[in-house]
Amino acid sequence: MTSSIEGVSRKLIVDSLHGDVHLDEREWRILDTVSFQRLRRIKQLQMGQVTYPNATHTRFAHCLGTLAIMARILRVLKEDGGISLNEKKRENLRMAALLHDIGHYPYSHLMEGIDHVDLTEEIVGGVGSKSFDATRSRYPDHEEVGKAIVTGQRDILDAIGSPDRAREVADLFTRSEAADLQLSKLLHSSLDMDRLDYLQRDSRATGVPYGDIDMNYLLNSLRISGTSMVGVVEKALPAAEQFLLARFFMHKAVYFHKTTYGIEEACRQLLRRMRDAGSFGMPKDGDEVLSLVRSAELSSFTDDYVDRLVRRASKDGNEVMQALASCIERRRPPKLLYEVQVFENAEHQTINRGKVFFSRAKRSLKALAEKYGIPLGQFLLCCTKPLKLEKRGASLTVEQARGLESEEEDELIKVFIGDEPEPKSLVEIEHSLIHVCAAHLWQAFRLYVVYEGKNKEDVVKRLRKEVGEWAECV
């Protein structure tokens, strides 16, 4: 569909979340490339659909949504008079928003993070050497992969127009841009368009209402200071607080949901094993990932790429690989044997119940596995990332937060109090909920088992009882 706004002919796509999304000719060309269309085959919520059947929305839709929000932010800040950008910079910011996730791996963060996966045998100890190998290049994060695609794939380069322009855009979403502080701050402010889009999109797709936010009010309340700090006006404080709460609850209810997390952990461990085995076609290191995404193979680097690996492991893998692959393929999520959730004040630095459970599990798991004749690798001992209300919040005391320097502050949501020329971080505002809860973090420590053998119900029941006993007696 073609429409016209501000006298410029533009293409129009209707998005279920933002309504009309207008694209200029160049953005339309980018959208139409094979490299960008790949994002239609990468689900936004990884394996979230095993729990929430409608969570099949893609990175493609999210990227369009991010562009829609960027357009609104640029409009609000222009009307506010706090920012003056020439046409080229506006175009670059819009392209950076559209392309910010073009480097996502199959199943998004799932495959990206396998270098950070510790296998159960390694956690329990006694397997492999205790030498940390820092000679192998790690899988690059998706933004670095995105840069390789934007500056290395012919179709994207042609759509953008020139290699220099492509590099400028990639520099923005990888935050390598050292030439323009204002642009950088705008793109990476804590009220970033990425989160504004995905929280609402994920919330609608899953049917979990906690991700809903007052986006219109937040966007209309944006201001920019003389030093290019982006914040919201004081009246929008509740909306800003609710935005952070929405993120917090979406993590607990959706992103770290026990069933989804269990099957994703099985997949992470499987991919790590396949990568280490070296015989399944997984890129062996970061250099191979970069070669792949710069090649014609990019278009097949989608969720289906991992699905094919899983199918192969279910036939050709060893016993543990086959068990993990089968649980993914047949949707037989790992059974949660025990979970400890902690919500604690990080300032107290106590050894919490979760850490005690983890430590006990490390000592006892091997014997348990032998007793039941289940390979150790079919037990998944894992913990979620510590979840904080504010990105930096729980890493810091309030006093430390007050002493933050700018790069750390960049990650905090800011509010203009009264007529103050510069905004304050939410953590510093004493009457805000975030001030009170900023030092708290939530984390779940979990032990799953992948078991499809004889007497499954009975075995799982007995395992739960045993793990529960030694977990409770610590």
Partner: protein, 163 residues
């Protein structure tokens, strides 16, 4: 402790630096030391972005806080672990870059080294012109002059971190 955090602790040990996060200076030293170790060829897998004080990676902050907390609790479990020999040698190769008893001076020095490397590596400055690099740093409120930059460029070349 996760393996990644063990890796970070081992590199800081190799550089003879404590994992401290109490002050901004501490956190800046941690950031820039890890950055320079990676620039010297130690693959820890952190990706850095450009901020007001040069290259910065939020995952280094997160992992640094975790390690510092575990050290404080006495639960840190990197004992028995070691960095592979080739990486240990690369880290040792930049020991004199991080050798300074004055923490403030060290923070400033590391900020300059890391910033220059990032600007060149990410092609934010063409060539290795001290004047151009100084101009970019000035834009970010830094008081480094062209002589500081020239000296740092020389040291980075001597350590094979830039060519």
């Amino acid at each position: 402790m996760e393996r990644q955090q063990i890796g970070l602790k081992l590199v800081m040990d190799q550089l003879g630096l404590p994992v401290q996060v109490d002050t901004f200076e501490d956190r800046l030293i941690l950031q820039k030391a890890v950055y320079l170790a990676q620039a010297a060829g130690v693959n820890l897998g952190y990706y850095f972005r450009w901020y007001l004080h040069g290259p910065y990676c939020s995952s280094v902050s997160d992992d640094g806080f975790c390690v510092a907390i575990e050290l404080g609790q006495g639960t840190e479990d990197s004992a028995g672990w070691s960095l592979d020999a080739a990486s240990a040698e690369k880290a040792s190769g930049i020991l004199d870059l991080v050798d300074c008893n004055d923490r403030s001076a060290l923070a400033k020095k590391l900020e300059l080294f890391a910033s220059i490397h990032f600007l060149l590596d990410r092609k934010q400055v063409s060539g290795q012109s001290p004047d151009k690099i100084t101009a970019v740093l000035r834009k970010f409120g830094k008081d480094f002059n062209a002589d500081d930059v020239r000296g740092a460029l020389g040291e980075l070349r001597d350590h094979d971190i830039i060519h």
